[in-house]
Structure formats: C-alpha cells, structure tokens
Amino acid sequence: MNVIEINQLTKYYGKHRGIENVNFSVEEGEIFGFIGPNGSGKSTTIRALLSLIHPTSGTATIFGKDCIKYGSELRRNIGYLPSEVFYYDHMKVIEVLKYSASFYDDVDYTRIQTLADVMDLDLNKRIDDLSYGNKKKVGIVQGLLHEPKLIILDEPTGGLDPLIQQKFFDLIRTENKKGATVLFSSHILSEVQKLCGRVAIIKDGTIVKIENIRNMQKHNYKKFTLEYRGVIDVHHFNLDGITNLTLNENTLHFLFKGDINRIVERLQGQALLNMLVEEPNLEEIFMHYYQKED
C-alpha cells in the first residue's frame, strides 16, 4: 500500500515556479529519501502534503485520502519536523510540548520525558534561551511524541551535532521498525544513504529520478581512480558511460556505468602506478544527475 501518492503535483507562486508535475509514491513502512539542492522544491512538495500551501494543479494523497480535503484528519497521523523550528518564545519547552500534545487524542505523556532523555533535552528551559540545535530537538520530540504513522522530515539534521544526529537516526529507525513510514528530505546525501531505501532526486522543481539506493550504488556505477606513470591521454577514455572525468596531475578520476570490460580493454598496455575501483558515494552519482542537463 502506498502511504503517499503524488500525481502531477504543480505549484506556482504567481509566475515563480515551485514544483512542476512531481510524481512519486512512498510505500508503507519504507524510509523514502527526497534529495535535491536548496530551492529545488523539496519543501514546497512537503508543504503541499501538509496542506500548508495549496497546489496549483495535480493531487497528493496520504493514506489514500486527498491531503488538502482531508488535511486535518490526516495530520492526526503525521509527525512533521520542519527544517527550521520556531516556537512561542516565552514558553517553556515542556509547555510547548504539552500544547502540542493537546492536539492529539490518547497521547502518552510519559513519552515526552522518554524522548527528551534520548535527545538530551532540558524540558524546563524557555524556548528563547535555547540554541538552534536544542530548538531542533524540541522539534524532534514534538514531531514524534504522538507516535505518528507517517513521519515527514524536512532537512532535519541541521544544527545537530554528530552524536545527537546518530541518536536521532536511531530514533527514526526505531519508529520505522514499529511501522512508521518516513519521508526524509535532505541535501546531505550521506545521511540519506545511511537511512533510506529508495530515493527521489529533485532538481529545479521536477523529479529527475527515483531509484533504489542499492541499485544506484552497486549495479550502475563504479568509481575509477587511475594513477599513471607519465602523461595521460584523456581522449583514450572518450567512451560512452563515463562521467565526472577529472584529471589531477597524473591521476584520473571518473565514474563509469556499463560493461566493465570496456574499461579493461582500454587499460591494456597502459603504464599504471595504481588503480582503484570503488563504489561511488551518492554525492558523486548525484552530481552526475545534476550535470546532465547543464
């Protein structure tokens, strides 16, 4: 079953493009990554899902129901963590969390304390005394405390130190194992790589590709590093399937997608000092998607 289904979703802010014909769906129980640089339309898509904004055309459904029409009902089962969190400044953390909990039925109030302990958050501080990272922790607790079936994270890790980030990822994984579906938007690919199964790549408001992370890394691309003794003839590697070719003194880097034997053929008779064939990280693959049209 698809928890989220987005069909031809388009949003224009006046003449300014937000997103255009976005299509993807998120299956129940998966952690779905949503990557793209700033301004590519990640937040616009998410805000439309939460009915914070109204799409110009197209539809989006959550749990099979239209997300605008049934917005308030659907939001009962959604936990949302915005990229930047803002709360009522003069309130204490615990007051904000209790206010947040008061919107949901059957909230387990002991969860506030449990989550706060995990995230190492002081509940008795005032919001305006909190650092950016600590505000983010309030956001995490607030987003998870009603045990939502769908967790939407919009660039959630900004401001969190690596230790807390790790705890946060563990928390998301735990919720996921308990059955929550996660939509994880980010421009930091390594964290998507760590957490997500499938990923949608968005660029300039349109989805460039949706792929399984493992396929993306293992079956398609190899990252080559060749160290030469002497001068390198770059034209030698003028071959279909090679991208991101860079030359550094006598070291050559490139990504290759296709039959590996063709590279081996080209390497015969070359004077190599060293050669590395690796799995590319997502970032490198990603740059490739982005450069394609430039």
Partner: protein
Amino acid sequence: MNILKQELRMGRKSLIIWCLSLAGILVLFMLIYPSISSQLEDFQKVFKSFPLEFQRALGVVDLKLDTILSYYQFPFTYILLAGAVQAMNMGVAVISSEVREKTGDFLFVKPVTRNRIISMKILAVLVQILITNAFVFVAALITVTILSAEPYNVKLFVLITSSLLFIQIFFASLGLFVSAFLRRIRTVLPISMGVVFIFYIIFLLNETLKDEKLGLISPFGYFDLSELSKTMNYDSLYLLLWFVLVGLFIFLTFRLFARKDLPSI
C-alpha cells in the same frame, strides 16, 4: 479549546497593560471634573467663541456642560480611540503572528482545520475585548458614581460606555480582514494606528462637513457620543451597517485564510 487557552495566555500581559492604561486614563481625566465643574460655564463660553467649524470638530456645538456625563464623553472619546487601536492590534496580530513569529509550521500542521484555528483565535480576541470592556465599565461606573454629586442618567452612561465594545469589535474584525488580505505583516502597530487615526480624522472632518455619505465611512461616526446625549439611543441605520460590516469582515477572513498559502520560512 486549547488554542483559545493558549491565545489568552499569550495575550495576558498586554491585556492587563491595556486595561490598566485605559481605565487609568479615564479615571485620571474624571478626577479633574470636581475641580473644574464650577468653572464649566466659563469653558462653555470659551468654546462658544470658537468658529463654528472648529466647534463642530470638537463636538461642542450643542454642548451643555452642566452634567458629569457631558464632561465624561470628552475623555471617553480618547478611550474609544485608544481602545480601537488595542482591538485592531489584536485583530491584525492574532493570526498574522503565526506567520511573523514563524510558528505557523507548528500550529497549522496540527490535526485541526484552519477554520477551527481561526474561530478559536477570533473567540480569543472577543474574550479579551469583553474583559477590557468589563474592566473599563466598572472603573468608569465607580468613578462617575463617586464624583457625581447628583444622580446622573444611567442609560446615557451605559450607552456612552458600551460604544467602546462596538468600536472595538469593529476594529478587531477590520484587523482580522486586513491580516487575511495582506501577504505578510512585519509590524502590527503602524497598521492599526494608521487605520484607526485615518478613520478618526474622517470622523472629525465630517463633524464639520456633515456629509451623510462620508458619515457612513467612519465607525466613530456610528457611535458619535455628542449625538448619543441628544437621541439617547444608537442610530439603528448605523447599528445595522456596523453589523453588516463586522459580519462581512469576519466572513472574508475565513474565506481568504482558507485558501491562503503559508509562506515558507
């Protein structure tokens, strides 16, 4: 109800300050009354020596400064003015603050409909207006009763004092409409001060011009205190107009907000 409670909590401090200042100013002005009541006839002569247009603008054309209530309407005009600013502040701020303080991403993703959020916020404004009015009413009643040597016209007192309620509700709903209409409001006070004073100036101008159509524009004219003491009742046409406009503003607030996009942070 949680939204209402939250709104009242957040507005508590400013409400207390407004109540104390409104009542304080009114009481202070009224305390001058005993010391000048003996000279009121002289004041009246001074006013009568002004040009007629000027007298009208001051609302002293048919002035008979022989009772405490005819004096009372002077300070109360300023209470109306200040109260209008307070109410419009609340109206403009109550929804737009969620955007300005960037807390919209918290409240509007909760499982409540927008209409419910807006209803609760409007209710919160109404409650605060009622508290303000109750406070001012009691303070005024005590002051006037103590200061008045003779019995005064209670009905007129109630009419004058209650006009604050009508003025405040009008400006609060106008403020709500303005906040629904504008995309993003950075500061509230300049808007509410500006609008209230423009309406007041229109009212003052019309006191001189006595143009019937112009009179329809300014809500201060609907509850003209110097007219009240003559007619001893609110003008039913103006009251109807007030009702229609307030209804329209509230209706439009709901309509506009239902389709409004929350700007991203």
